[in-house]
């Protein structure tokens, strides 16, 4: 593989390429990940450093289907706005490394959960609001055309309808998905302007850098839409993998986020975040359901697909609990 990676870099104009210390990385949940050191000359400048190769699994084994070119273009476009490792090279069709892949600069930042174990949550809730604020205020006209956009003015309606479409396209009927669609439709919050949505905005996709700032990675599912989906998704994911950094001070988190985005209190408050803890998960959930369906049809294989589609059961209970808690809050209960 090091020779293949070197060939990719050379095809992109690098000279005197040397690739060493190539090794598989643990933690690339949806994609194959490897780390390597490289030295080369590019555009007349000598470079050396550590890089990450991020490529597609073999056909039929991916738990989600996404596009490396789309991911490369988005990372390249938002690098000046968001704290994320720069994308450097793209093998769009796998001509060089054998599978569609991109090469990113390696970030020495630490995974979030081990960092929290060692340091506590510190001021990460505020840093989370700042990361989300930065991501969600990327100018929409700076986002590449390859990033999916809503097709109508009813952005939230499209998102809600994904619950129905996911259910209707599945290998078995999913009445819980229809319940969630109906409930979300009946309890819509005020709209906000379009923005970039990560769609897997969780501690699993964040690192903590030497300044204590959060770094965001894995932008493969990003779309243009209602940015509050990410806040809800973070909260939903944290129920399965704590801690919930928003829950430490929901009002304070929302206040900082509103400062950065310009939203008013009606558009973003703890109840709205709770609403999106259901509404915001459908992009990932629909991908996991699709791969589970492919397994059921004999079109895919791999126990990781079964494991992840099985984990949707946790979501069923969590979504229902969230809707019940929000109904109680809206009715003036607990």
């Amino acid at each position: 593989m090091p020779a293949r990676v070197a060939a990719l870099l050379e095809a992109r104009g690098a000279r005197n390429v040397e690739v060493t210390h190539y090794g598989e990385m643990i933690g690339g949940y949806s994609r194959l990940m490897a780390r390597f050191d490289a030295s080369f000359e590019l555009d007349g400048a000598a470079e050396s450093g550590t890089f990450v190769l991020r490529g597609d699994p073999p056909p039929g084994q991916a738990i989600i289907e996404t596009d490396r070119t789309q991911e490369f273009e988005l990372i390249s476009a938002i690098a000046s706005h968001v704290n994320t490792p720069p994308a450097r090279f793209l093998d769009a069709d796998g001509e060089h490394v054998g599978t569609p892949a991109l090469v990113l600069e390696f970030s020495p930042a630490q995974s979030t959960l081990p960092w929290i174990e060692a340091n506590g949550t510190a001021d990460l809730p505020v840093r989370l609001a700042e990361l989300a604020g930065a991501l969600h205020t990327v100018p929409v006209d700076a986002i590449p055309a390859s990033t999916p956009r809503p097709t109508t003015d009813d952005v939230l309606g499209e998102q809600i309808d994904k619950w129905r479409r996911t259910a209707d396209g599945h290998v078995e009927a999913l009445p819980i998905f229809h319940y969630m669609a109906g409930w979300l439709d009946a309890h819509r919050p005020l709209p906000v302007p379009l923005g970039l949505v990560h769609n897997d905005f969780s501690s699993a996709n964040m690192l903590v850098d030497e300044n204590g700032d959060l770094v965001i990675v894995d932008l493969e599912l990003a779309t243009v839409g209602d940015p509050r989906q990410d806040l809800g998704y973070f909260k939903a994911y944290a129920q399965a993998v704590p801690p919930d950094l928003i829950d430490a001070d929901p009002e304070g988190f929302c206040a900082r986020y509103r400062e950065l985005t310009g939203y008013d209190e009606g558009q973003l408050n703890p109840a709205v975040v709770a609403y999106f803890s259901v509404a915001g998960v459908i992009d990932v959930v629909s991908q996991l359901m699709a791969s589970g369906a492919a397994l059921a049809r004999g079109e895919a294989s791999g126990s990781l697909i079964a494991y992840n589609s099985d984990n949707i059961l946790f979501g069923h209970a969590a979504w229902m609990a969230a809707t019940e808690a929000l109904e109680a809050a809206l009715d003036g209960g607990t």
Partner: protein
């Protein structure tokens, strides 16, 4: 066939061997993560194998009863389809087929209840989902996601 040890007991034994015998030999790394995921899956399959035919059968009957007399056209049509499906087989694929048809009818009824803003009907249909979720939680057990940071 030999019915003892039951399927769930055999699956539990497999999961125990994966954890106690195979996992220590693997050490840490991607294969160890996959093994833990497989062990969790096998444990869930044990709980599922013990109950799934019974649970699907019970849920199907409860949905059929709850939707009886529903005149909303798409719900009534879906209920007719459920009732016209063969009901005498206990083979897993046949039970799952009827469960799917019952779930489809319930889905239509839920959509109709929300569209009509019929909060009482929504609450009644939601109670059926509550039993489903309770069964699912028994299958899932304590969630311990492995492989993600």
């Amino acid at each position: 066939m030999l019915s003892q040890p039951r399927t769930d007991q055999v699956l539990d034994a497999i999961a125990a061997d994966l954890r106690n015998t195979i996992a220590p030999a693997l050490g840490e790394g991607a294969a160890a993560v996959t093994l833990e995921q497989i062990a969790q899956l096998v444990e869930r399959l044990a709980r599922r194998a013990a109950h799934e035919i019974g649970w699907m059968h019970e849920e199907t009957a409860a949905i059929d009863e709850a939707l009886d007399g529903d005149t909303e056209p798409t719900t009534a049509a879906a209920l007719d389809e459920l009732r016209s499906a063969p009901a005498d087989s206990l083979h897993l694929a046949d039970v799952a087929r009827r469960y799917h048809l019952a779930s489809a009818a319930l889905s239509r009824a839920i959509e109709a209840a929300f569209a009509a803003a019929d909060t009482e009907r929504v609450a009644a249909l939601k109670s059926l989902l509550g039993q489903r979720i309770a069964n699912e939680q028994e299958i899932l057990g304590q969630l311990d996601l492995v492989g993600r940071g």
